[in-house]
């Protein structure tokens, strides 16, 4: 756009500089908390409480990380979290796309009414149903198991159903019709044509699901009690309760807990942002 050959006026140059300056300062403000986190995590405890605080550690203690991580059964919590996150992800992606296909592509009576219910549940604060849900899982003997955390995902998620339906609606019907004429079943169309064509939105849903369950604290807090069932979020909370003011250790463990999410974000941000845009902007 800027290569049209038209030279910029002095006024335009000044406004460009102002835009870059504001965006640059904003970026620093956004990144500063993370820098502060890394910097604190590498300081010796005596330097953490030094006044005035150092923005960059004068003495770098890498040993803080192994020291802090061995205070927790970190690998156990990591495995627990991973089991929950991956099973939830599989359930939510698979079931939500099956349900969304019926809403987007099949013709049946009651479709619109049920879809309005899907939209309404999207807006429902989950806490309203929490207590009976807790009692149901208690009756089923599932308290302090991963059941209450994983099972709901296999009923699909209204938000993802909505997102996938919107995407499936954009596909052309001609391809479906052609496949049906060629002898493909309707479910075959969904499985062999619609799903492979929907990789970007499936990726977005998978990432959202991963992000949500990785960060989730409320439901593990309510349903898990034994410390060998803890997720990373619960383990981190426990760690905070025990090492309340050892900020270097706390920052080290918190950063390690955030890291998988940051890594996933950097490799998949295209899908991430596409997905966000697709949900928020209609």
């Amino acid at each position: 756009m800027s290569s049209t050959g038209v030279s910029l006026s002095a006024r335009q140059i000044v406004s460009k500089i102002i835009v870059y300056a504001i965006l640059g300062i904003g970026s620093i403000v956004i990144l500063l908390p993370l820098q502060w986190m890394i910097s604190t995590s590498l300081k010796p405890l005596s330097h953490v409480f030094r006044f005035p605080p150092e923005f960059f550690p004068q003495q770098v203690i890498w040993q803080n990380y192994p020291d802090a991580l061995t205070q927790l059964p970190f690998d156990l919590y990591f495995r627990n979290t991973l089991v929950i996150v991956i099973l939830c992800l599989i359930g939510e992606v698979l079931v939500s796309s099956v349900v969304a296909y019926a809403f987007a592509r099949l013709r049946w009576r009651g479709r619109n009414t049920l879809f309005i219910i899907v939209l309404a549940t999207m807006m429902l604060p989950r806490q309203v149903t929490l207590i009976p849900e807790f009692l149901i899982f208690r009756e089923l003997g599932m308290i302090d198991t991963f059941g209450p955390l994983i099972l709901p995902s296999f009923f699909g998620n209204p938000f993802y159903i909505f997102l996938l339906r919107q995407y499936f609606l954009t596909h052309s019907r001609e391809l479906d019709q052609a496949a049906v004429i060629d002898g493909c079943s309707r479910f075959g169309v969904f499985w062999r044509i619609t799903l492979p064509m929907s990789k970007p939105v499936l990726a977005a849903v998978a990432i959202f699901s991963f992000q949500f369950h990785w960060n989730d604290f409320f439901r593990p807090l309510i349903f898990l009690f034994s410390d060998d069932m803890y997720t990373l979020a619960l383990g981190l909370r426990f760690f905070q309760g025990t090492f309340g003011t050892e900020w270097n250790s706390l920052m080290a463990v918190s950063l390690v807990v955030m890291l998988p999410l940051i890594v996933v974000f950097f490799f998949t941000q295209k899908y991430f942002i596409q997905g966000v845009v697709f949900t928020g902007y209609k």
Partner: protein
């Protein structure tokens, strides 16, 4: 749509209908079991005194009477939760819009800036809460250290009854990038000929923003407002980790109080009443916003009708 298609539409094909119900059945079962039934059940439980140990005892509306007139904490926590939302949501929208508009000026490095601003939006939960607890530390925290650079002695954020709510608002502002990417996409979808026409008519920058950009983005802003209400009313993890509702209940957000009643005191009946009041409060806020929508949310087809 072709004629053949619309005729096709009237008669449902049996195989297709059966398949459709089979495909939606997981969601339908989940909705009935984990949403519809629990909603009714929690309303019923709210009329009972029940601590899970002894059998439930019917007490009618007593919990609702207690909640509104005797126990001061539910209305206090609802008030601060609404106050927090009233501060947090508009600030996030204004900053999100401002950054999106700056990014939408044909700048270089758009992708880099977008990544940086969006990064905090993917992080949430306990780790972020612990990070911000440290940032808000009055003597050694990042925020007060930064303020000292400008000669300002910051308050004891999380230890101050006055500053604890602003602290939570500031923390939520860190993830302003979540809305920003949505506004940016909305801005990029506005046809440029609208701006060209306005420029020819001599409209200045402010007029272009208020007459074109904001009206064209208003459906997006409205959507963000609705999801913002639902999201910020449910604030829990941050207060649980950072302040545990303190000091002196100044950050006792509604869900923290509900959690305590349900899962620490095991007052299932009272907590269910709290949950229903919360549900109605969120619903009312959402309905109020929907009622205002016709005054400021611009839908092209609708306005064309009015003008025509």
């Amino acid at each position: 749509m072709s004629l053949a298609f619309s005729r096709f539409r009237v008669s449902y094909q049996r195989g297709e209908v059966v398949l459709a119900w089979a495909m939606v059945s997981p969601w339908l079962v989940g909705f009935l079991l984990l949403t519809a039934f629990p909603m009714i059940a929690s309303l019923v439980i709210s009329f009972f005194e029940w601590n899970l140990l002894s059998p439930p005892e019917f007490i009618g509306l007593a919990h609702y009477h207690k909640l509104f007139f005797i126990d001061p904490l539910p209305m206090h926590s609802l008030k601060i939760t609404v106050l927090f939302s009233l501060a947090s949501i508009p600030l996030n929208i204004v900053f999100g819009l401002a950054i999106a508009m700056l990014l939408n000026t044909n700048i270089r490095g758009l992708a880099v800036f977008r990544t940086i601003y969006y990064l905090p939006a993917i992080l949430s939960g306990v780790a972020v809460a612990i990070l911000w607890q440290w940032i808000f530390s009055s003597d050694f925290g990042l925020l007060n250290t930064a303020l000292r650079v400008f000669g300002i002695e910051g308050p004891a954020w999380l230890g101050s009854k006055i500053w604890v709510l602003p602290a939570f608002v500031i923390m939520r502002l860190w993830s302003v990038g979540g809305g920003m990417v949505i506004y940016l996409a909305g801005l990029q979808a506005i046809p440029t000929d609208l701006y060209e026409a306005a420029e020819i008519d001599g409209a200045n920058w402010w007029q272009r923003v208020f007459r074109i950009t904001l009206p064209m983005l208003s459906p997006t802003i409205f959507f963000q407002l609705i999801t913002g209400v639902i999201f910020s009313m449910q604030i829990f993890t941050e207060t649980f980790i950072m302040t545990d509702g303190g000091p002196a209940n100044a950050s006792l957000f509604y869900l923290l109080y509900l959690y305590r009643q349900a899962f620490q005191n095991f007052k299932m009946g009272y907590a269910s009443a709290l949950a229903w009041v919360f549900f109605v409060a969120v619903l009312l806020l959402t309905l109020i916003l929907f009622a205002t929508a016709r005054f400021w949310v611009y839908y092209e087809a609708e306005s064309a009708e009015e003008n025509g």
